[in-house]
């Protein structure tokens, strides 16, 4: 389906305080692709993510979801198509109970109560969090919060999932579970992260941002092998691709 495509064309964005963060980004993500967005702190990753669902609107250039340009008028449709998962689940889980939070989006779409319930339970089941549904979000562990935050977006049945640092602050096992979970998704996936090992596991394609511009865009394997590029963008080879400290001591 064509609405699974994100197309960004010469996008510029400056924050109201004069900080120019995006300086001409052009990128195209097609249906079902899993793409990593990496780069130094302040390279513009989060700002770019906020452009994908119209939380920020371009200063110049264009963002299109499928056939639809992201403008004020198309916001409702765009936000249903593009689900954005925030870095800090506490920003996203604001309702008194987990169930209410996951139901928040579907209810805003005006679905019938039965339909809402179905979507909510489906989304909770997808992330393995059905047992949490009657708990308030502030009594959850970090991993549980993350799972619920994902469910809260899944319940809108978006075609494209956009995630900001999904593996931050998770213990190794929970992180692994998250990776396995994301592998099962058939959505187009755009993940902004510093966790390059996660990128290696999940995303065949990587986009490297540097100071508001695209420094590289290509197959993850090739980019992760290019040490000069990685170093220039404040990155480092994924740990798994580095030499074993036991076998080959430096």
């Amino acid at each position: 389906m064509s609405h699974h495509i994100i197309e960004v064309d010469d996008l510029h964005y400056t924050y109201p305080d004069g900080n120019q963060v995006l300086k001409g980004i052009s990128v195209r993500v097609t249906h079902g692709e899993k793409v990593a967005l990496v780069g130094a702190n302040g390279a513009g990753k989060s700002t770019l993510l906020l452009q994908f669902n119209g939380c920020l609107l371009p200063e110049s250039g264009r963002v299109r979801i499928g056939e639809m340009p992201v403008t004020k008028k198309t916001l409702k449709h765009v936000r249903r198509t593009v689900g954005l998962i925030f870095q800090d689940p506490d920003d996203q889980l604001f309702m008194p109970l987990v169930y209410d939070d996951v139901a928040f989006g579907p209810l805003n779409l005006g679905l019938s109560p039965e339909e809402v319930d179905r979507q909510v339970m489906q989304a909770l089941a997808a992330v393995g969090a059905v047992h949490l549904k009657d708990r308030p979000p502030y009594h959850l562990s970090g991993g549980e919060k993350r799972a619920v935050a994902i469910a809260a977006v899944l319940s809108l049945t978006p075609a494209i999932l956009v995630m900001d640092e999904p593996s931050s602050n998770l213990d190794p096992k929970t992180r692994r579970q998250l990776i396995e979970l994301l592998k099962t998704f058939e959505h187009s996936l755009i993940i902004a992260t510093h966790d390059l090992d996660l990128v290696l596991d999940l995303c065949p394609r990587t986009i490297v941002l540097k100071e508001g511009r695209i420094a590289a865009d290509g197959p993850t394997r090739a980019i992760m092998a290019d040490e000069a590029l990685l170093s220039a963008c404040n990155l480092e080879k994924p740990l798994r691709l580095q030499g074993c400290p036991v076998c080959t001591p430096a």
Binding site: L75, R79, Q92, D100
Partner: protein, 270 residues
């Protein structure tokens, strides 16, 4: 630092109590809210020197604590924490109102002491009723009930968000205060100067978070109205609970049961 965290844990514990499933917990939140309100109005409306006639009202908290499986010690501590407020409201009465109202053996009891006792008694009754309401209902349910009973939606939402982010903000504040304490030596660095900047930071962070929160809400189709999918249904037992207790409160308010009972017991003794 510790105190901020402790109070958060305490609020959290009050909330945990509401996860239980006792007959009291299962009642409709509106009914519990209304009953609590009738209780409070009845207790507060007694004349200044009422003490004996307030006693029977103890029945309500006692029954709810028993049926709702609530820890008496915890609630008692919560009441004690708030007690100084009532204490200082009432403590001047014995000084101002010295007219002797009763004699207990050689001890003359002035009207001031009687009204002081009355104030403390009312305080214990009303505060325990409110705490019990939260402990058997849960804060969000109380908000939902308030909204259903006609409280403007904006206020109900404010309350909900306030409660939700109390924990986040409290945690943040506790961490900042701890970070400051760890780098303050001999009381240096703990002054008002750093306190001001700490508060300022907290405010800025809160504004940032509010902004992100708003974006998160917009991302999921927020249009100014929060919808809840939780149908509230009144059952016979809910109506029974409300009518039964309300009738009792009104009765206790209008007739001085303790006095009757006292006279009756005295009659038996004679």
């Amino acid at each position: 630092m510790g105190s901020i965290e402790n109070s958060l844990y305490n609020i959290g514990y009050l909330e945990t109590l509401s996860y239980q499933s006792t007959p009291i917990h299962r009642l409709d939140p509106r009914v519990k809210l209304l009953t609590t309100m009738v209780f409070i109005v009845a207790v507060v409306s007694f004349p200044k020197y009422a003490v004996g006639s307030l006693m029977p009202f103890m029945l309500y908290p006692v029954v709810l604590i028993a049926l709702g499986n609530l820890p008496v010690g915890f609630l008692g501590k919560k009441i004690l924490i708030a007690a100084p407020f009532a204490f200082f409201i009432g403590i001047f009465n014995p000084l101002l109102d010295r007219q002797v109202m009763a004699h207990l053996g050689p001890l003359a009891i002035s009207g001031g002491w009687v009204s002081f006792a009355s104030i403390m008694l009312r305080f214990v009754l009303t505060v325990s009723a409110a705490l019990i309401l939260i402990a058997v209902t849960g804060f969000h349910q109380v908000c939902a009930a308030l909204e259903r009973l006609g409280m403007p939606r904006a206020f109900a939402l404010q309350l909900l968000f306030l409660y939700r982010y109390l924990f986040v903000l409290g945690g943040e504040a506790a961490r900042m205060v701890r970070a400051r304490a760890l780098r303050s030596f001999d009381g240096r660095g703990l002054g008002f100067g750093t306190y001001g900047s700490l508060l300022g930071h907290l405010l800025l962070r809160t504004l940032d978070r509010a902004q992100r929160l708003h974006l998160a809400m917009l991302s999921r189709g927020f249009d100014g109205e929060i919808r809840l999918l939780r149908p509230l249904q009144l059952h016979g037992r809910d109506v029974g609970f409300f009518l039964g207790w309300s009738a009792l409160f009104v009765l206790l308010r209008l007739c001085n049961i303790s006095q009757w009972w006292g006279t009756w017991v005295m009659g038996l003794v004679k």
